[in-house]
Subunit: 151 residues, 2 copies
Amino acid sequence: MKSKLLLSLLALTLAGTAAAQVKPEDAIKFRQSGYAFMSWNMQRIKANVEGQYNKDEVIKAATAIQAIANSGMGALYLPGTDHGKGWEETRVKPELFTNKEGVGKVAGAFVKEANEMAKVAAAGDAAASKEQFGKLSGTCKGCHDDFKIKK
Amino acid sequence: MKSKLLLSLLALTLAGTAAAQVKPEDAIKFRQSGYAFMSWNMQRIKANVEGQYNKDEVIKAATAIQAIANSGMGALYLPGTDHGKGWEETRVKPELFTNKEGVGKVAGAFVKEANEMAKVAAAGDAAASKEQFGKLSGTCKGCHDDFKIKK
């Protein structure tokens, strides 16, 4: 009886959090958008740590990356979105939908380094930002190598 | 002599902050990505304030919107990006490049309400979030009415 109640509550919770029904093509478009927007902000940080360092610019860029990294984009990898077109054909590898442990590892590393990037950016030290930018870039590449089809 | 030095310093600063050279088609793509990603997060907040309210979900969505709103997307409206294709043909109206005062007004309103949305979301009150979501949506619409070509 108790477990039935728990199951009902769980179902209710899942229904609640799944309330924003997203169409597969929109889910693909939204995740492509998140990555593209982060890519702009990675370029901005790169330009700053390799050129003249503007603290505010790096903070804005790092904050955007951090917020997108922590936004729960995993929800956009809906069943049925292993193929399909958002802005363009998705380049996700089928492994992303099957290798939960591997995905958890690269996603966790990315979120950790994105949070650290925002912290380092706030402190405003160019050399430290450059080092942390390298670590963050590494987590992007790690995920792309394993779960994104090369062009 | 002093003013020449100041001018040189200014030129250096501008060169420094413009270091991230963005191609026009990329600038259009990046801004389309920012808006699309915010649109996903607006949908999530809407689903929460109209359905079952999940505080964490709303915080994540509002934080992403706030960070993108404050990221300095204005820099993506480069000269020469009044026409052109990012993910798709830009729908920006020419007025965005000429009506500085009008743009400043809608952009300022949007950033203000996005910051307020993040604050209200953090407090976790569903009714207050619903009200603030309405205000934030209004600023999206205000800008679209004036500066975005309808489909």
